[in-house]
């Protein structure tokens, strides 16, 4: 068996690095995590000529080897560690023909690590349009590399790149400039102290204040003694190094690249004039938001209804066709609805990521970040928090995943912590049924009270998110560099392949990540609701039949009463009873208690649970509503769902952290149980207090 060639794809963000990766690997790719951190690890296999295979890693985009985020650390950690099994035989640096100068900075740094390096000049189809011409042989000679001119959009140059990778042994591994000239004396001393080490590697280890997990500890500790220069001195040296590299690049490009600006046509100036405009910019952003909401609520309701129906009939089918028994019940009432509870979110998540990836690919998202940064910063958030907060109105799970591109850890953490306050679509069924029960139908200036209440609940959710961000910003003592540098990329038409792969990958990551937990919780809930201790549960049929013997009930009605009685005495029913004293001051009884407990798997379970408790056979909203309206408060008398308890319940659902899946994602993204626990305690505590005040004040 021939050895696989290890290839590392490296490049600045917005150079189309991922397009090159997709073009090389197609569907032969997988996304995982680097051990211990939540940075995505994308790798794939590429078939090369003569039966050779290449193992390709798509490293996170970075502007240089001076890391300032977790994602960028990954790049240096791999490139500095020759013992890593993924250490590249050849590095492929992807650059954008329009930003060649800036992209070459990273290239010269990688060359200094003495790794054979191929230079991909991507988006070559834009050269003519921009009046750019390149002297490739000259550039190859000066930069000591092989160059592939690639256009992923026009599918050009990929075969040539594969050829170059196959013959990687012919690619030079020499540095193309001598960066140590910036302080000859210092670097000479370094060289003497560590004669066997690569000078540039030592320099990187000295200057990074980040943690290098995989690199030999002793090496770094030995270097710590060597820190004869102050932080400020080192920084000045880094600046000199950067300037030195740019001088070299400028000199090379002066000869190797000519730009005829008279030929350049500038679309971006015109688009930017509108899209970042003080008025039009916000208006257009608002319109785009409307379309996204429309898609998430309206368009995805068709596939969602279909999924809902399919899983319901699948459950029915399993109950009918399979032999009776605990396993069939588990399958029909636990596993299938549990799977349904995962699959039902797929349309919304897919739509959301479709829009987000189109907006990102096109370059528009950077403009939104630019427009919103100042406003969001007042609340300890970043312009980049806008995307998660919008996504949160569909579902907090993809929203939390969308925080990854926020560089400042503090701003990212705050965004993650407050996002679940935004009104997600799972709260909607709960809101709708309670509003229709307790809010009168009247109108106020032509607007229905009920619609106004719903709108108010959205505003409350958003207000809670922003308000708690403000508090967290003051309370959290996290030292994190709060710099904000956003590249404003050129506008591009999104590539279909990239968008599709992103949507597929994000959906998959949701189904297998959060899905496991949703499924587990549904099975546990099923168990708790299907079993109970003692005679009351096990002899429910006898007891209920005896009790209702005098009333002439139909078989169906009797079965419903039995089911209801069983639920009351099941483990979950007992739990409901147990927490009743705690929730009575909020205006709830034990039945609502059960619904709240089971809502923990997912909020929309609330309506279904009440349906079971009130022994209504169907999920039909009107029937449940009538039944709920007839409930009497056992202590205070009068209807259980009145204005006071209704408002209390609405506020409880607005604030409470009742979503196991979100907690699981937050755990994954923050890599600690500390933050999801804090979220749970803070949000649910707030919900309790607010609901308590509301009920006591209104009753």
């Amino acid at each position: 068996m021939s050895k696989q060639i290890n290839v590392a794809l490296i490049g600045n963000p917005n150079t189309g690095k991922t397009s090159v990766f997709n073009a090389l690997t197609g569907l032969n790719q997988k996304v995982g995590n680097y051990p211990g951190i939540t940075v995505e690890k994308k790798e794939g296999i590429c078939k090369l000529p003569r039966g050779v295979k290449a193992h390709i890693i798509d490293l996170p985009g970075t502007y240089s080897l001076n890391a300032s985020s977790l994602d960028e650390n990954v790049v240096i950690e791999l490139l500095l560690n020759r013992n890593d099994k993924d250490f590249p035989d050849v590095a492929v640096v992807v650059s954008d023909v329009e930003n060649l100068k800036r992209n070459l900075l990273l290239f010269t740094q990688i060359k200094d690590l003495e790794i054979p390096t191929i230079l991909v000049i991507n988006m070559a189809d834009r050269m003519e349009y921009k009046g750019i011409s390149l002297d490739i042989p000259y550039l190859e000679k000066e930069l000591k590399t092989k160059i592939a001119l690639v256009s992923t959009r026009k599918k050009q140059g990929i075969e040539e790149l594969k050829q170059l990778i196959t013959n990687y042994k012919e690619v030079s591994d020499e540095p193309c400039l001598n960066a140590s000239e910036v302080d000859v004396d210092y670097f000479n001393r370094l060289r003497k102290a560590f004669p066997n080490q690569l000078l540039y590697k030592l320099w990187l280890v000295i200057t990074q204040d980040v943690n290098f997990g995989k690199i030999d500890r002793n090496e770094i500790e030995a270097l710590n003694d060597f820190k004869t220069k102050s932080k400020g001195d080192l920084k000045r040296l880094q600046q000199k190094e950067t300037i030195k590299r740019y001088q070299f690049i400028n000199n090379v490009l002066k000869v190797g690249q000519t730009i005829d600006t008279s030929q350049a046509k500038d679309l971006r100036t015109k688009l930017d004039r509108i899209l970042t405009h003080k008025v039009w910019g916000y208006l257009i952003f608002f319109l785009i938001l409307l379309v996204i909401f429309q898609a998430i609520y309206d368009w995805s309701s068709v596939p969602m209804d279909f999924i809902d129906g399919t899983f319901a009939s699948l459950s029915e089918w399993a109950k009918e066709k399979l032999p009776d028994g605990a396993f069939t019940n588990l399958l029909a009432e636990g596993i299938i609805p549990g799977l349904g509870g995962i699959v039902i979110f797929i349309p919304q998540i897919a739509f959301l990521f479709l829009f987000i990836s189109v907006l990102e690919e096109s370059g528009y998202m950077s403009r939104v970040v630019f427009l919103m940064d100042r406003i969001m910063r007042r609340f300890g958030l970043s312009g980049k928090s806008v995307v998660p907060l919008i996504s949160g109105t569909a579902c907090a799970i993809p929203a939390v995943m969308a925080t990854r591109n926020i560089e400042s850890w503090k701003e990212r953490l705050i965004t993650i912590l407050v996002t679940p306050f935004t009104t997600c679509s799972a709260r909607l069924p709960v809101y709708l049924i309670i509003i229709s029960l307790v809010i009168p139908e009247g109108r106020f200036f032509g607007l229905g009270y009920q619609a106004l209440t719903l709108m108010l609940l959205y505003l409350i959710g958003f207000g809670a998110a922003v308000g708690s961000a403000y508090i967290l910003n003051k309370v959290l003592k996290i030292r994190s560099k709060s710099f904000f540098v956003v590249e404003m990329p050129n506008y591009k038409l999104p590539l279909f392949k990239n968008v599709t792969l992103t949507v597929l990958e994000k959906t998959k990551s949701f189904v297998f990540g959060a899905g496991k937990i949703i499924l587990a919780i549904s099975i546990i809930l099923w168990f708790l609701a299907s079993y109970g201790p003692g005679d009351n549960f096990n002899k429910a049929e006898e007891i209920v039949t005896k009790e209702y013997a005098s009333q002439n009930l139909s078989e169906d009605e009797l079965q419903q009463h039995i089911a209801s009685f069983k639920l009351e005495h099941s483990f979950i029913g007992i739990t409901g009873r147990a927490i009743e004293p705690a929730i009575r001051p909020l205006g709830y009884d034990w039945k609502i208690g059960i619904a709240i407990v089971s809502s923990f798997a997912a909020r929309e379970v609330f309506v279904g649970t009440l349906a079971t408790i009130y022994s209504v056979g169907s999920d039909d909203e009107a029937t449940i509503k009538n039944r709920m309206a007839a409930e009497v408060n056992p202590i205070l008398g009068g209807p259980l769902f009145n204005f006071a308890s209704g408002i209390s319940l609405l506020l409880f659902y607005a604030f409470a952290m009742q979503c196991m899946s979100t907690l699981a994602i937050v755990k994954r993204e923050t890599n600690s149980w500390k933050w999801p626990s804090l979220q749970l305690v803070f949000m649910s505590g707030l919900a309790y207090v607010v609901a308590l005040i509301a009920f006591q004040f209104l009753k």
Partner: protein, 77 residues
Amino acid sequence: MQYTLAHLKRGEKATITDVSSIHIPLKLLEMGCLPGNTVELVQLAPFQDPMYLNINGSHLAIRKETANHILIEKVDE
């Protein structure tokens, strides 16, 4: 008077003269914000912050707090 990038008005151009302040992230230099380079203010967000710049063909946005530390010399046109 010593001008900083924060003094720049929309559409104005200047030459960067000094970026040695410790409040300027290295990343900004790496993106081309270096002495001698020309900078143009493309757009300002409301409240004059952040600033959308074109530095020698590199388009980027930075916050005003960072721009305050970048010294410039205005180009007379």
